[in-house]
């Protein structure tokens, strides 16, 4: 089989739509195009039926009822709705929110906004493996804590949090437990009842569905209440107004069904590919460091630092391969990844990190090709690296007084 370039290995950023998902969606653009909120004719009824079926499919993926699924425009909106909605609804009971330093910006920036509005937020540190411990959540909880938001799996280092243990602690204290499940759901087992979750954010495009549609799981028993952030026609039981994006929702449903039925086999296959990638790279390149936990990790994630080689220069060399870097240079901020900093990775190593995100459509041939060019580029860039030269000469880089700029 011939290799098709460029190779996509950035499946934490987004995933392609699975052709089976696209097939399910297509009739809903031109034939079944009704507004799911139209109650007076069959166009509306058939659209509504499709939306309700998709609700059940998405619910089934996380052990929930379809009735507990609220459609949104994506997980960023879901995170905003969950945290702001619950914090506002419960503000008479308390004003303290707990989250972690390694959360996605959609959670962190939402919390920062709430801080400006007078809420207190605790940003929990994580261990070197990137995990949030249930004990640290317990220790941070006060009588005023109303919302705890912890992600299922991290988007950079793939670390999977012990959400079942954390959920037990949160419910012991009676706060609302929100899980940003975007990266983990469909990749590792996640059950809203096992984790005692009240609210969970999901995204279609991270699981081979279309972009522009997400969901918020909102527990019904016991009922969890949130303040709507978008007002209008009272859709989605008043929690999120706006005409439903029926084709995308149908696609999300199909994607969730595929994720549920194929997760076990796919996870095993991805783990094998990931280990093939990791073992080959580490056997051929010295001074590499895997960031995050090897034990509690998404099967398709490899985040690895290549010492003495700056990440963006690496990405530039891997021009036929789509991956990403924790290097400062890839963002406008010039700060290296806050996730890597939170797990104690030295800034200089953070600048050398590359994230590989393997997905459903990656093959062994692709992995082997990527290994070849990664090894080649690291070698070339190390020949160019004054740091590598100094390290080879036995100079301790930490002994040098660098002029920060």
């Amino acid at each position: 089989m011939s290799l098709k370039l460029p190779i996509y290995m950035d499946n934490h950023a987004t995933t392609p739509v699975d052709p089976r998902v696209l097939d399910a969606m297509l009739p809903y653009f031109t034939q079944v195009f009704g507004n799911a909120a139209s109650r007076s004719h069959s166009f509306g009824w058939t659209a509504e039926k499709a939306v309700e079926a998709a609700r059940d499919q998405v619910g089934a993926l996380i052990g929930a009822s379809g009735k507990e699924i609220v459609w949104t425009s994506g997980a960023t909106e879901s995170d905003n709705l969950a945290i702001k909605g619950a914090a506002e609804f419960l503000k008479d009971r308390g004003n303290h929110i707990i989250t972690a330093q390694t959360e996605h910006k959609a959670v962190l920036d939402t919390c920062k906004r709430l801080e400006k509005e007078g809420f207190d937020v605790t940003y929990l540190p994580v261990g070197k493996d990137g995990r949030v411990s249930a004990e640290s959540v317990r220790a941070a909880m006060t009588d005023k804590t109303t919302v705890v938001s912890i992600m299922l799996a991290n988007n950079e280092i793939g670390t999977v949090n012990p959400v079942n243990e954390i959920g037990a602690v949160v419910k012991e204290k009676g706060a609302v437990f929100h899980v940003d499940a975007v990266q983990g759901v469909g990749k590792v087992p996640f059950d809203v009842n096992a984790a005692k979750v009240d609210l969970a954010s999901l995204s279609a495009h991270k699981m081979y569905g279309p972009k522009g549609v997400g969901a918020l799981y909102v527990r019904r028993k016991p009922r969890v209440r949130i303040t709507a952030q978008i007002d209008g026609g009272g859709h989605e039981r008043g929690m999120r107004s706006g005409t439903l994006n029926v084709p995308a929702i149908v696609g999300f449903g199909k994607a969730a069904e595929l994720a549920r039925t194929e997760m076990a086999a796919e996870a095993a296959r991805l783990l094998k590919l990931r280990e093939r990638l990791r073992e080959a790279i580490q056997s051929k390149v010295d001074h590499t460091f895997v960031n995050g936990s090897m034990e509690h990790r998404l099967p398709g994630n490899l985040n690895i630092s290549f010492a003495y080689v700056e990440g963006e220069a690496m990405l530039m060399g891997l021009k036929d391969v789509a991956v990403s870097s924790g290097s400062a240079c890839t963002s406008a901020s010039l700060e290296p990844s806050y996730v890597l900093r939170a797990i104690g990775v030295d800034e200089e190593l953070a600048h050398t990190s590359i994230r590989f995100g393997l997905g459903r459509f990656n093959t062994e041939e692709e992995v082997d090709y990527v290994v070849k060019i990664v090894v080649d580029k690291v070698k070339k860039l190390r020949e160019l690296s004054p740091l590598y030269e100094m390290a080879q000469q036995g100079i301790d880089l930490k002994s040098i007084v660098w002029a920060a700029h």
Binding site: E310, A332, S385
Partner: protein
């Protein structure tokens, strides 16, 4: 981010990669930047007794724009007098390589590296002369 053709060309074919013996009295070494900031440039100049830069070499840890800036700097300084090299401005590098605003610090580093190498050379000379007189 899209790179300019000139940055890509220098990245693909960096000029004058390598090192001189830093203890050679005719060699000035500039080492600027910091690993924690994601950029370190080492630029070395081999300078004749007449103060002419006869050769230059570099090694850079940094993004493509940092590599290109230092590669370009080595190309430019060859054949220049010390005074001419001291006159190279980072804005000239920005212009030549078409660097976007977020990459301007790469050109600043390259200018600093040239100045650092010349300062090192001058310090060495002063020390050698001082020792000779003593």
């Amino acid at each position: 981010m899209a790179y300019s053709e000139k940055v890509i060309e220098h990245y693909e074919n960096p000029r004058n990669v390598g090192s001189f013996d830093k203890d050679d009295p005719s060699v000035g070494t500039g080492l600027v930047g910091a690993p924690a900031c994601g950029d370190v440039m080492k630029l070395q100049l081999k300078i004749t007794d007449e103060g002419i830069i006869e050769d230059a070499k570099f090694k850079t840890f940094g993004c493509g724009s940092a590599i290109a800036s230092s590669s370009l700097a080595t190309e430019w300084v060859k054949g220049m007098s010390i005074d001419q090299a001291m006159g190279i401005k980072n804005t000239q590098i920005v212009e030549e390589l078409n660097l976007p605003p977020v990459k301007i610090h790469c050109s600043v580093l390259a200018e600093d590296a040239i100045k650092g190498a010349i300062a090192d050379y001058k310090a060495k000379r002063a020390k050698a002369n001082g020792n000779g007189n003593a």
